[in-house]
Symmetry: C2
Amino acid sequence: MEQPITKREKILQATLELVQEQGLNELTTAKIARRSATAETIIYRHFSGKQEILVELLQRVGSDFQKSAEVIFAEDISPAEKLSKMSASHLSFIKQTKGISRILFSEQIHLAAPADPLKIAARAIAANYRNCVKQIICDGKITGDFDADLDAETASRSFMGLHYLVMHEWSLDSFSWDLQELNTSIADYYIKAWKAK
Amino acid sequence: MEQPITKREKILQATLELVQEQGLNELTTAKIARRSATAETIIYRHFSGKQEILVELLQRVGSDFQKSAEVIFAEDISPAEKLSKMSASHLSFIKQTKGISRILFSEQIHLAAPADPLKIAARAIAANYRNCVKQIICDGKITGDFDADLDAETASRSFMGLHYLVMHEWSLDSFSWDLQELNTSIADYYIKAWKAK
DNA sequence: AATATAAGTAAGTGATCACTTACTTATATT
DNA sequence: AATATAAGTAAGTGATCACTTACTTATATT
């Protein structure tokens, strides 16, 4: 017998790939079954339905993302350097998990009821990330890396929003250019914009 | 007989309302017919299909948005003041046309072929807006409102991205708070972040 | 060898959806 | 009054989809 975990993992992996390639709207249980080399019936032995697969995927990738932010946050470097690293890590996250970003910003989530588990997972990921950026900004205001008068709320929104927009433009351009090219210009921009006047 | 234009307008209006309330995924021709007090058959006398209705809606609202940006751009005020007004107008646009924003950022558009008319319309709206912001920044670098070394490309992305993120958070929070409250903090933030060091 | 468990197969089910066909009715213009 | 045109009605069509039922087969553990 295969490890009990294997088939389940294959279904999750297949779902991730399909969302990346074709998006949430095109995701069907028939396709998931075909891609994971099984039958639709098997999916329902492991998950209650489509939604449950997506919730698990989102939680996994969300916790990876969170961990990578926490690692950077805990490093013994200046707030300005942390910011640089956060940006680079965000860009590489977008690049690696196009599919997940699509769930995060999908209409399904926007229109879901507040208690929807997919919506809860998405909000947690976004809130956690922005708090992390906000904390780096506050630290930087103390060390003098950033202007003491900087509005951390708006600044963190601007930082996160830029990455969001870049992802949007990249996707609208059919992923035809290299995201990581923007690494230095983004970091340079924020370090200059936020430094003391 | 009614004015030839009326029924067509009713269908467009009904579609806009439905997208605002329920999103693109929930939009069906049956609902459009019901909301515009007609029969599904009538829809197909005015439009080739669902997609054509959406393209027309997007083009109309897009050109309104563009016009409002152009009006601000042509005013005889400082670049910093133009920026303030752009932000305020963007927030009120988001507030008024939640439905349209949903089309702009929808998966349908992201995954559409480059030649898809809906995608073309969406890209045009976004590119036009960002160019307008970029031009204001370049003007401000000359007048001295903004730092001469400011990276207009990244700065305009940050500006547009912030509004994008605010819309995203507002939507995730089920439109429960007032967007316009952010007016002054956004303008203040950018004027300070971009001014000469 | 017996047993438990997951994988697999085959067939289907009810609901939804965009869009069509064929025909009739109301009304503005001439 | 005749005509053109849009609105309206009634019925349907083929495709897709998430999920189900009932049953059989393979394999790891005991």
